[in-house]
């Protein structure tokens, strides 16, 4: 396959992703960092899976 070179390749002034993205405020009252938000999401997920397992076991 012979395609023209991408003129934009290498020209994008992108800085490392973590520079401001991980430090920007969540604006949430209790979950002030993004890490806390992610932990909360995982905890909610674990809770749901646990409840579904209990439902499966109780009525199988």
């Amino acid at each position: 396959m012979n395609l023209p070179d991408d003129t934009t390749a290498g020209s994008s002034g992108v800085t490392p992703a973590s520079a401001d993205s991980d430090h920007c405020k969540t604006g949430l009252p209790l979950l002030r960092t993004w890490r806390a938000v992610y932990v909360f999401v995982l905890a909610a997920f674990a809770l749901w899976v646990g409840l579904l397992i209990a439902l499966s076991r109780m009525f199988s």
Binding site: D6, A9, G10, L52, I53, L55, F59
Partner: protein
């Protein structure tokens, strides 16, 4: 449907369409058409992401999936919270910094043109086929409500979707989706309340759960390690994580939704909203299907839920055979209902021996019912490919819900179908314009020219999806068919992005040929192996990374067309 239903239906649909047009008036530049105005708050982003995924297919087909197979399908969503966290933390900041219109622009900046074109081409192929399937959903509603032939309804609803998308674009999708999803949930809740109200008097929650559990409808989590089983905890957590990562992280129809957030915070919170609420939402919808199953144990359902098809067969096929099947079904269903009542009475009196006997009798009678239903399916389609589970919920709505609510729910399905199809076609038009037309075919043209081109490409993809829907025979339940097609093409696309994000030394040539080899491998494995389709997402992504790494090692470090800047 009566006059009241038609008034509610037309009022709701017109209201949504006019509101969308009013809110987006005056926005006529290419960027806002493709990406939205970029001022969406997190709640709008969240609902928009949810509504794009939870199309009419979800609301029509998922209760049918719950009706037929119980809660097990929920395991496909187990990968979603993990995938959305990875996207929020890694993918999203990169997309926002590069200020991309399509996700495939990233591939162009990180690798080269051919990698970008490959990503766009895989997306267009996959999403084009998927659009052909999702267009079935509104057609099923129209076909059932009005008794029209399915082909005519596919064409009609397809043309309406094309007109809606071209006239409004991405912003119209965004501003109306939050109201559409509100209508959808109101309708589903109304259906749930009516369904609970119509269950037999005296059938308590515990009885209902025991009954559903006894018929294997409450097996929400399956710990089996057999790879042939479609939905297990492991295929959900491992395979589906990669499916969701690919769908939300690299599919333009979703990327377009969340990059329209006013800031990184709004986009991230929109994604996290979905990560938290998607599983309970799907649980609710699947539970509705289980409730439908319970309801139809006591009320006789049609032997074949696609009544338009059944009547067509009765008029043009072996009417005597169909009549015999209906008679057998009525007798089998009546026997099952009697055994159910015996079982419930035994439970109430506390007679455990009679309860065990009646429960065994219920199971045997249920098998007979299913045998007759299988005969009905074979009578309609001797290959056994046509399924009627997508018609279960709409049949219930039309037969049992009060007038007014019927109109509201039919409008709901239309609204969901319209918004999801609009998002899909908008994304197909965007990717074709930005990644192929503007990048390869016509590099220097005015904004107005590209806007017009994007609308024409949207029309083109709309017509392609209508043509595909007309020529395809739908063998699977809709919601599963969409995910199966995704699982064949998404792994390669995800592989391209994973290499781009995490493997700095691999360049465009290696990843391009590695991805092509992976696509061939996944298609080959799909036809040769008998494993859950969810595993192909993991296998394909891993294969793409492996093949690209091997090729890069073979090509050597000098052959590395990589931008050091477009990396995380």
């Amino acid at each position: 449907m009566n006059a009241l239903d038609y008034v509610v239906l037309l009022g709701t649909m017109l209201g949504i369409a006019l509101y969308g047009m009013w809110r987006t008036r005056g926005r006529h530049n290419l960027d806002s058409y493709l990406r939205g105005s970029g001022d969406s708050r997190w709640f709008v982003v969240g609902l928009s992401v949810m509504a794009t995924q939870a199309s009419a297919v979800t609301f029509l087909s998922t209760p049918g999936q719950g009706f037929a197979s119980g809660l097990g399908f929920i395991q496909i969503y187990f990968g979603m919270p993990i995938a959305l966290i990875i996207i929020a933390a890694v993918f999203l900041p990169i997309y926002r910094r590069l200020n991309v219109v399509t996700a495939y622009e990233y591939l162009g900046q990180r690798f080269d043109t051919k990698a970008r074109l490959l990503g766009a081409a895989i997306f267009l192929l996959q999403r084009g086929l998927g659009a052909g399937i999702t267009i079935y959903a509104p057609a099923i509603v129209l076909s059932t409500v009005f008794g029209w032939p399915l082909d005519a309804t596919i064409v009609c609803s397809g043309l309406v979707v094309i007109a809606y998308t071209v006239s409004g674009g991405s912003d119209a999708v965004n501003v109306t989706q939050k109201y559409q999803i509100g209508v959808i949930f109101a309708g589903m809740l109304a259906a749930c309340i009516v369904l609970l109200h119509k269950l037999p008097a005296g059938l308590g929650l515990h009885d209902a759960l025991t009954l559903a559990g006894g018929m294997h409808k409450l097996q929400a989590v399956n710990f089996s390690t057999d790879p042939r089983e479609r939905y297990t905890l492991w295929s959900g957590v491992l395979g589906a994580t990669f499916l969701m990562l690919a769908y939300f992280g690299t599919d333009q129809s979703q990327v377009q939704r969340y990059i329209s957030g006013a800031s990184l915070r709004e986009s991230r919170l929109g994604l996290m909203f979905n990560a938290v609420f998607k599983i309970p939402m799907q649980f609710f919808i699947l539970s509705l299907g289980v409730l439908l199953f319970l309801f139809y144990q006591f009320e006789k359902p049609p032997v074949y839920f696609n009544q338009v098809e059944w009547k067509h067969q009765a008029e043009h096929g072996d009417a005597g055979r169909l009549q015999a099947i209906e008679t057998d079904f009525a007798a089998a269903h009546d026997r099952e209902r009697q055994h159910l009542e015996t079982w419930l009475n035994a439970r109430r009196t506390g007679d455990s021996t009679a309860e065990a006997t009646a429960r065994a009798a219920v199971s045997a009678a249920h098998e007979q019912v299913e045998t007759v239903r299988a005969q009905a399916e074979m009578a309609v389609d001797p290959t056994g490919k046509k399924k009627d589970t997508d018609y279960v919920f709409i049949t219930f709505i039309l037969d049992y819900l009060p007038h007014g609510i019927i109109g509201l729910l039919v409008a709901t399905f239309f609204a969901a179908a319209l918004s999801a199809k609009a998002a899909e076609l908008n994304a197909l038009g965007s990717a074709t314009t930005v990644d192929i037309y503007r990048h390869v075919i016509k590099r220097q043209a005015s904004d107005a020219h590209y806007l017009a081109a994007s609308k024409w490409f949207t029309v083109f993809w709309g017509l392609v999806s209508i043509s595909f829907a007309l020529s395809a025979t739908l063998a699977e339940n809709l919601i599963q068919a969409v995910n199966i097609i995704g699982s064949i093409f998404y792994p390669v696309m995800l592989g391209l992005f994973v290499v781009g994000f995490f493997l700095r030394r691999i360049g465009g040539t290696a990843v391009f040929w590695g991805a092509l080899a992976t696509q061939v491998l996944v298609i080959f494995l799909y036809f040769r192996l008998n494993i859950s389709y969810l595993w192909y997402n993991l296998i394909g992504c891993a294969a793409c990374v492996l093949f690209s790494s091997i090729l890069q090692a073979w090509l050597g470090p000098g052959n590395n067309s990589t931008s050091a800047l477009a990396k995380p």
